[in-house]
C-alpha cells in the first residue's frame, strides 16, 4: 500500500464521486430540488393561463424559481454529513480544500440537472421568446456557478445549527441579492431581444462575482469546517 502523491484534484474527485454515489442511492437532494422546481413552475404556468408575461417579469420569475429550488437542496450536502455523524471522520481524513471543492462540484452538478429540466419547461409553459435561448445559455452557466459558489460555504456554516433550512435562506439571501439582480436584469434584456454583446457588462460582473465567491469561500472554508 505505498502512499501516492495524489494531488488535490484526485482528492476532490474522490469526494465528488462519494457524494454522487450517496445521492444516487438516496436521491434526497435531487428529489427536493426537482420537486420544488417543477411544482413551482407548474403553479406559475397554471396561474398565467394563456396570458403572456412581459420580459422583465419572465426573467424575475425564472430566477425566483431557480433560487428557491436551490435553497431547498443545496444545503443538504453538508447537513447530511453532520446529521449522519460522518463529518468527524471526514474532518480527520480529508483536506478542507478537497471537501469544499468536491461539494461545490456536487452542488453545481445538482443545479445543472435542475436547470436542464426547468429551463425547457419554463420556455414551454411561459411562452418565453425561444430566439433568446442560445444567448441565455452563458447566463445560465454563470448563474448556476454563482448560486453554488455563494451558497456552498453558507451550507457548511448552517449545517451545525439547529434551524438549518430557514437559516440557509436567511444567510444566503443578502449574499445572493447582487447575483440575482444581475441575472434578472440580464435575462430581461435577452428576452427583450438584446444580443450577448449588449450584456457584456453584466457578464463581466457575473464572472467577477463567481471568482470572488469561489476564492473567498476557499479561504474561509477551513475555519468554518474545522472550528
Amino acid at each position: 500500500m505505498p502512499p501516492t502523491s495524489a494531488g488535490l484534484a484526485t482528492k476532490c474527485l474522490t469526494m465528488l464521486i462519494k457524494d454522487l454515489r450517496l445521492e444516487l442511492r438516496d436521491k434526497y437532494a435531487l428529489n427536493a430540488v426537482l420537486m420544488f422546481g417543477i411544482t413551482t413552475l407548474a403553479v406559475v404556468s397554471f396561474s398565467l393561463g394563456q396570458s403572456n408575461l412581459p420580459p422583465h417579469l419572465l426573467g424575475a420569475l425564472f430566477w425566483i424559481i431557480m433560487f428557491f429550488s436551490a435553497m431547498s437542496g443545496l444545503a443538504h450536502i453538508f447537513i447530511r454529513e453532520e446529521d449522519s455523524g460522518t463529518a468527524l471522520a471526514l474532518r480527520l481524513s480529508a483536506p478542507p480544500d478537497a471537501v469544499f471543492i468536491g461539494k461545490l462540484l456536487f452542488n453545481m452538478i445538482l443545479l445543472t440537472v435542475l436547470t436542464l429540466i426547468i429551463t425547457p419547461l419554463f420556455f414551454v409553459f411561459t411562452n418565453a421568446p425561444v430566439s433568446s435561448l442560445g444567448s441565455f445559455i452563458p447566463i445560465l452557466v454563470l448563474g448556476v456557478i454563482g448560486l453554488c459558489s455563494a451558497t456552498t460555504l453558507i451550507a457548511a456554516i448552517i449545517a451545525r445549527a439547529a434551524v438549518k433550512g430557514a437559516l440557509f435562506a436567511v444567510l444566503s439571501f443578502p449574499i445572493i441579492i447582487p447575483l440575482l439582480l444581475t441575472l434578472v436584469l440580464t435575462t430581461q434584456k435577452l428576452f427583450e431581444g438584446s444580443g450577448v454583446s449588449n450584456v457584456m457588462t453584466e457578464l463581466q460582473f457575473l464572472i467577477a462575482y463567481m471568482v470572488v465567491m469561489i476564492v473567498g469561500s476557499l479561504m474561509l472554508f477551513k475555519f468554518v469546517w474545522t472550528e
Binding site: 502512499p3 502523491s5 462519494k18 454515489r21 480527520l92 480529508a94 472550528e227
Partner: protein, 205 residues
C-alpha cells in the same frame, strides 16, 4: 520514529474545567491508557489531540524524526476508532475503506481490503451496505478503515464497545500487532483494555 508530545493541555467548557495540566510524551512502540470516571474528559482529550477541539491551554505536537508534522501529514498518520465516529451507511464496507484511504491520498487494492475484512471478522460482508450492519460489525469496520490507512498514531476511544467476546479477542490481537510500531492512545475504563497500554493517565478525581 514518530512522537506525540502533549504539553500542559487544559480544556474547559464555559466555567467547567474538564481537565488541566495534562502532559505526556509517547514514541512509536509506546501506548497510553486514559482512564477516569464518566464525564472526566477522556473523549474530549482525544478530540483535543486530534485538533477537533481547541484547548484553552497547552499544545499538542506530532513529530517524525524530530520534524513537526503538518496538518495534512497528521491526517495521513492518525487513525481514530470511537463510538462517535460514524461511517457512511449508504456505502458498502469496501466503498468506505476505499474512500477513506483515497481521500488521504493513498491506494489500496481489493486483496488488501479483503485481508483487512478477514482480520476484523467481516469476511464476505464487504459488499453489504454499512446501514445493514449491527453495532458490533460497525465497530469492526471502523478498525478496518483505520488500519487501511496504516496509522502511525492510533486513537481508540472505548475500543471494544459493542463487540462480542470473539470481536474483543480479534481487536486485542490487532492492538498487540499495531502497537509494536505505532503510538496508541486508548480511552477506556475496562481493565482488560488499559492493561494493553504501557503508560497510564488518569483524569478526574
Amino acid at each position: 520514529m514518530y512522537k506525540l508530545v502533549v504539553e500542559n493541555l487544559a480544556k474547559r467548557f464555559d466555567s467547567r474545567i474538564v481537565f488541566k495540566d495534562i502532559s505526556f510524551e509517547l514514541t512509536s512502540g509506546e501506548s497510553i491508557a486514559i482512564t477516569g470516571p464518566n464525564g472526566s474528559g477522556k473523549s474530549t482529550l482525544i478530540l483535543c489531540m486530534l485538533s477537533q477541539y481547541r484547548p484553552n491551554k497547552g499544545k499538542v505536537s506530532y513529530l517524525s524524526d524530530q520534524k513537526i508534522l503538518s496538518e495534512e501529514e497528521i491526517q495521513q498518520n492518525c487513525g481514530l476508532v470511537s463510538p462517535y465516529l460514524n461511517l457512511y451507511g449508504q456505502l458498502t464496507a469496501e466503498e468506505n475503506i476505499k474512500f477513506f484511504t483515497s481521500i488521504r491520498g493513498k491506494n489500496i487494492t481489493g486483496n488488501e481490503i479483503n485481508d483487512l475484512l478477514i482480520k476484523v471478522g467481516l469476511e464476505g460482508r464487504g459488499n453489504d451496505n454499512v446501514a445493514e450492519y449491527s453495532s458490533g460489525m460497525n465497530q469492526r469496520l471502523k478498525y478496518a478503515v483505520a488500519l487501511a490507512n496504516k496509522p502511525n498514531i492510533l486513537f481508540l476511544d472505548e475500543p471494544t464497545s459493542n463487540l462480542d467476546d470473539q470481536g474483543k479477542d480479534a481487536i486485542a490481537s490487532i492492538i498487540e500487532e499495531v502497537r509494536l510500531n505505532s503510538i496508541i492512545v486508548i480511552a477506556t475504563n475496562e481493565k482488560e483494555e488499559y492493561s494493553l497500554a504501557t503508560n497510564k493517565c488518569r483524569l478526574g478525581n
